[in-house]
Structures are given as C-alpha cells and as structure tokens.
Symmetry: C2
Subunit: 253 residues, 2 copies
C-alpha cells in the first residue's frame, strides 16, 4: 500500500505542567524535531482546544508557527471519550481524518504528555492505520515511563492499569489484587489518580499493602516540584505527606 | 530525611539509534534540559562504557562537556545483570553510589533509550532510594511508549512483558497466553525481540494469533526508517516483510 500522497498523523507530546507552571522553557522538555514539526502543522485534533492554543503559543516563542493561532484548525475529540478512553469501539474517528487522506498533515495532542497513552487519542491513531495514513510519534515527556524509570521498580515487566475504583471497599480490593499480581509475577503495577484524590488513594495504599511490598510515588514529573520516592511499605513515614500534584503510583516487588 | 548535601542520580535517556545512524542531530530527540544536565556530569554508571563515550561525544557537539572524555569516570554495570535484568535481588548497587552520598551528581545511562526501562539500571535507582539520594528522570526517547502511542491500541491499560521464549513451542504458547489476556482484559501486551530474531517472532505471531486480534509493529522508532503499523491479523499482508531494525511488538483488542 503506497501512501505517499496522504498526509501524516503526528503524535505531539506536550509539557506535563498543564499550562499551570510555565516557568520552565518548553525547549527543556520538547526536543527540536518535536518543536519543528509542531510549528509547521496547521490542523490539530485535541482533547482540549483551549490548552492546545496555549501550547501553540509557547511553541511559537521558540519555533515560529507557520500560520497564526486564529488560522489554526483545531478539532476537539468528543467529551464522552475523554475519561473512559477511546477503547469502547463506539467512536469512529475516520471522518476526522478526511483532510489527511487528501495529503494534509495533522497533529494529535492531549492536555499533557503523550496523546493516546493514559489520555484520549488512540481512536484517531486506529483510524489512521485503517486508512493507511502514516503515524509518527514525536519525542517528549511521558510521565508514566519517567515515573517507572525513577521508581527503581522492575522495568522489564510492568503494567499500567489506569485509575483505581473510587469506592473505598472496591479500591482496597483492587489494591490487594494488584499487590498479589506484583508479588506473584514480579510485574510492576502502575496507576494514576485525579490529583485532588491523591490523599485518599495514598491513605488506602498505606492501609492496604503488606509491610514488605514496595510502593513508589512520582509527583510533579519534570516540574520544579518533582519528587520521586520508592520504599517498602514499612519504611514510608507519616512525614511523607502527599500533595495535589499529578502523581503516578506503583506497586512492586 | 534531608538530603541537601547528597548528590542526585539523573536518569539520562539516549538516542535510539545505538550510535549506528547518527545522521539525525541529537537535539532532535533530546530536549535542552537533558543535554544541559548531561553535559555537566562527570560521573556515569552505564550498561556499556564505549557507547556512553560515543553518546557524550555527540552531546559535546551541542552542549560542551564540563570535563574531557578522558577525565570522565564511567563505571559499567556487571554484565550478568544486563539481559536478565536487575530484578533478581542479587546485585547491590549501593557501593556504586558512594560518591553520590558525598554530594556528587551521577548520570545513569543505558545503550539506547531510557535506563531502567527494558534496560539495566533499576538496581542503581533502587539503591539510590534506599540511601535517600534524589532521583531525577530526564526527558528523551522511550521506544516502548512511542510504539504504544503510535499503535492505536489501548493506552489506558497496557503491559510490557519483555522478551518471549526462544523455543518455538514455548513461544507459541506464550503468544496465545498474551492474546487471551489481551482479549479478556483489554490490556495491550507489548514485547520486544533481539532484532536478528524479528523475522522468526513475526512468523510465529502471524501463525499463532486469531484473525481478528490486532497486531502492531513499531520499527526504527525516531529513526529515518521508522515504520509503525497496526492491523487485525487477517489484514496483515505478506508484503509487510519485517526488517532487522529494533522493533516493539504489541497485541491488542
């Protein structure tokens, strides 16, 4: 299948600060090829148009945009697939790629980090493969993998399982299930939480895990407040309070 | 615990070209903060000293090194933990961090990509946490996550399981086990192979999987030869021959 006349879908990672702490230069977390490609795109598919415009403004400071922000075509993915993910098979993203079939390059972005990983976007990538459109992922910050590497937990065998249940009994059960899996197979289990629920999850972890299970917490990855720690449960101290920065959690052997 | 007087362990990602195709500028895949930190370090712990020197030579072209290559202190991790991983609990990396306890910053690198993820290094990170030494992961290319994002497979729930068995019967069994898991739980299963065995693994996948199972292949991530595709098994064509570039494979729903 030749697709030389078709456009390319670029997966464009964005800084992990959600536009909240933009004191760090964008070139500190995005390499030149990513900035160059992003600055040349005119069409975007995104989780959130507002944050994409803010992102492009920052790109423009170091790599001038080809067209003005007003001229950018920014299409938002439907809200309903944001949280539950694209993998319900209910959303067909092919219509969003009509211009790519005609030769136009399109950027796919999420609010922070890499689109389609713990973020919406995979339905668009899936549609691209179905249409024979080239998909090119660009280098940038990916909180899950930075957290895993910095945890010191097993990086040869790991899983990311998304969010845990909110109900406290169901959450405790899930925590123990993940712990059993990690201990039995050696597979590190990574998960995330909405920042304002960090504290509830943290307390549940301290309560639910065994003394020798290793528990890692990576907060504010790439931000000035970054803090990554990993200890056996029995070595975590109550002085290790958790804040409300975006945090990746991991349980391991 | 205060650790202001201690050094920091920086996890320094490297280009994915293994030094083989260095035509792309290093600043295309490593952002400025990564290059700046790398250029300022004088002590390294690595999978391979030779490739680390080659990497530092490339860093030097865009961010001048603080000391000469000859003055760099480069310590190799023991060979035996390279392939089987650091997670046997047999290797105590604490002695390697003696200077970090005295205030020196140390860089941790592998041959390509992010140390401690599908690569040696986690024993060093674990030791750092045990000694109360700060761990800072830097942004750079991570083939697994770039491959996952570009596959269009489920990025809300995924696992990386390392290498599959080499014995063909055991490999087939493992392939079917991973397929069953992916279909039952929706968890994307990622794995890798030594490039010269790509073809054998690829043929086993085509033979072993069900017609509707989705199979992704991401070769040469970040390289000029990059090729990422994902199709239901029945839609892969014999014209899709596989080469011997580093490749990430994934099975999903």
């Amino acid at each position: 299948m030749t697709s030389t006349q078709k456009g390319t879908i670029y997966l464009v990672p964005t800084p992990l600060d959600f536009g909240c702490d933009t004191s760090a230069p964008i070139a500190d977390v995005l390499p030149q090829a990513t900035l160059r490609v992003a600055s040349g795109l005119t069409h975007w598919i995104t989780e959130n148009a507002k944050s994409t415009r803010a992102f492009l403004k920052r790109v423009n400071e170091v790599a001038p945009l080809t067209v003005t922000l007003q001229e950018m075509q920014i299409t938002e993915l439907p809200r309903e697939i944001h949280k539950k993910g694209d993998h319900q098979g209910e959303f067909d993203a092919k219509p969003l790629l009509a211009l790519a079939l005609k030769g136009l390059d399109i950027g796919l972005v999420s609010e922070a980090g890499m689109p389609a990983v713990a973020d919406p976007g995979s339905s668009v990538v899936m549609a691209a493969h179905q249409l024979g459109i080239r998909v090119v992922p660009l280098v940038g910050p990916v909180s899950l993998l930075l957290a895993l590497a910095a945890s010191g937990l097993n990086g040869q065998n790991f899983a990311f399982v998304g969010y845990l249940p909110q109900d406290s009994a169901a959450r405790l059960q899930r925590i123990r299930e993940l712990e059993t899996l990690a201990m039995k197979t050696g597979q590190t289990q990574l998960f995330i939480e909405t920042p304002y629920r960090n504290k509830a999850l943290w307390e549940a972890l301290l309560k639910g895990l065994q003394p020798n299970t290793r528990l890692a917490r990576a907060s504010g990855i790439t931000l000035p407040t970054m803090d990554v720690q990993c200890h056996a449960l029995k070595d975590w101290r109550s002085s290790h309070a958790i804040g409300d920065s975006p945090t990746v959690f991991a349980i391991g052997k």
